[in-house]
């Protein structure tokens, strides 16, 4: 006797449009492109700096042009979305237990934001001086 055949469903090509949560997930993943692009731009800036004043000047002009500023604004927006969405998930990745009770998720998120703020201020101070 042969086994009855099973139906094997296939995930549709645009599966991520099925639910708002999937769309938010894809956005979170896509924002890494903005972060990567900004990191590459900074690396190129370092390279141009090493090549001398003229090369650096050219990079700086492009960086401060309207297109350059627009790129930085978009990269900042992407980075903020990426940061917020990952901080949101941090409590389930890093649960902390004190005896029989779990530290509330909001407190773990707050700790992330505090460290983020302290590191950002420290970098601004270092760059400022």
């Amino acid at each position: 006797m042969t086994e009855p055949r099973m139906y094997h469903p296939r995930l549709p090509l645009f599966w991520y449009l099925r639910r708002p949560s999937y769309v938010r997930y894809m956005l979170r993943e896509l924002t890494c492109i903005g972060i990567g692009a900004y990191a590459i731009t900074l690396a190129v800036g370092l390279l141009r700096l090493a090549q001398g004043p003229a090369a650096w000047q050219g990079f700086w002009q492009a960086f401060s042009s309207p297109a350059g500023v627009a790129f930085q604004v978009v990269a900042l927006a992407f980075t903020l979305y990426h940061t917020v969405s990952w901080f949101q998930l941090a409590p389930s990745t890093m649960p902390i237990w004190r005896g029989e009770t779990q530290v509330p998720p909001a407190r773990i998120r707050l700790a992330h934001y505090l460290v983020f703020a302290v590191v950002s201020i420290a970098i601004l101070l270092i760059v400022g001086f």
Binding site: P4, R5, M6, Y7, H8, P9, R10, L11, W15, Y16, R18, R19, S21, Y22, Y25, E29, L89, P91, S92, T93, M94, P95, W97, G99, E100, T101, Q102
Partner: protein, 246 residues
């Protein structure tokens, strides 16, 4: 006796009859306090005895009646008909092979469950009368993962399961973490052969929907990320001189 009529649209698959599932509608006289499972049972008992679906406890404990309800994975016994206006769509769970109508295949999951060795593994044989003592604080760390009822809603919610049918998946990995976190267990390295394999935790991209749809408030997504961290630390440890090899 009925409070109102609700149209049940059910995705049916009868392998002897059709190659692909087809929708079929039934008008069901529902009472206000019914859940979707009551409607399915009404169809089976009064309208069409050929409809196939699974159920057992009717109280969100057995995990048998998981289906897609209006496109979302849910337990039919935990979803009230009063939350629907005119129509409710019921389909078998996404991402799993279908035997018939609303009956999904569980064999693949059973195999995956076996691969993660979901039982206590100890280094030494403790003997017949040994006690495994555990404090309430040690229990609290893993207790939520013991709540899983294997309903597979998390598999239906996980696109990675759909993209890679070999992926061990949320429930199996969460259960592996349940034992990894157990103070009486020493089997984490042994389990990593499966959990850190190409079908293991690294297939997860943290969509997070598995935890959202879980009817028992288990957080498989969190468990998987914790296992990624542990697996990475084990790998790093193995690189150090005298480090732990796993």
């Amino acid at each position: 006796m009925s409070d109102r009529t609700l149209s049940f649209e059910i995705l049916r698959y009868r392998p002897e009859q059709e190659d692909e599932p087809v929708w079929q509608s039934y008008d069901v006289p529902c009472r206000e306090d019914w859940v979707v499972l009551d409607g399915l049972n009404y169809i089976k008992d009064h309208l069409d005895g050929t409809l196939s679906h699974r159920w057992s406890c009717h109280m969100a404990v057995c995990g048998s009646c998981g289906v897609m309800i209006d496109g979302k994975p849910a337990l039919a016994c935990k979803t009230f008909v009063r939350d629907f206006t005119d129509t409710v769509q019921v389909a078998p769970l996404d991402n799993l092979p279908v035997h018939r109508d609303l009956i999904s295949d569980m064999e693949g999951f059973a195999d995956k469950l076996g691969r993660v060795e979901p039982y206590l593994i100890t280094d030494e044989d403790p003997g017949d009368n040994a006690e495994f003592r555990q404090s309430p604080a040690q229990l609290a760390v893993y207790r939520q993962y013991t709540m899983c009822i294997n309903c597979l809603l998390c598999y239906a919610a996980c696109p990675q399961v759909g993209l890679n049918p070999g992926y061990l998946g949320p429930a199996a990995l969460a259960l592996a973490q349940r034992y990894n976190l157990d103070s009486r267990d020493a089997g984490r390295s042994q389990r990593e052969e499966a959990t850190a394999s190409e079908d293991g935790v690294w297939e997860c991209t943290f969509v997070g929907e598995c935890s959202e749809v879980c009817p028992k408030a288990v957080d498989p997504a969190g468990a998987i990320q914790q296992m990624k961290l542990a697996s990475s630390l084990d790998w790093l440890g193995g690189l150090l001189p005298g480090g732990r090899k796993s």
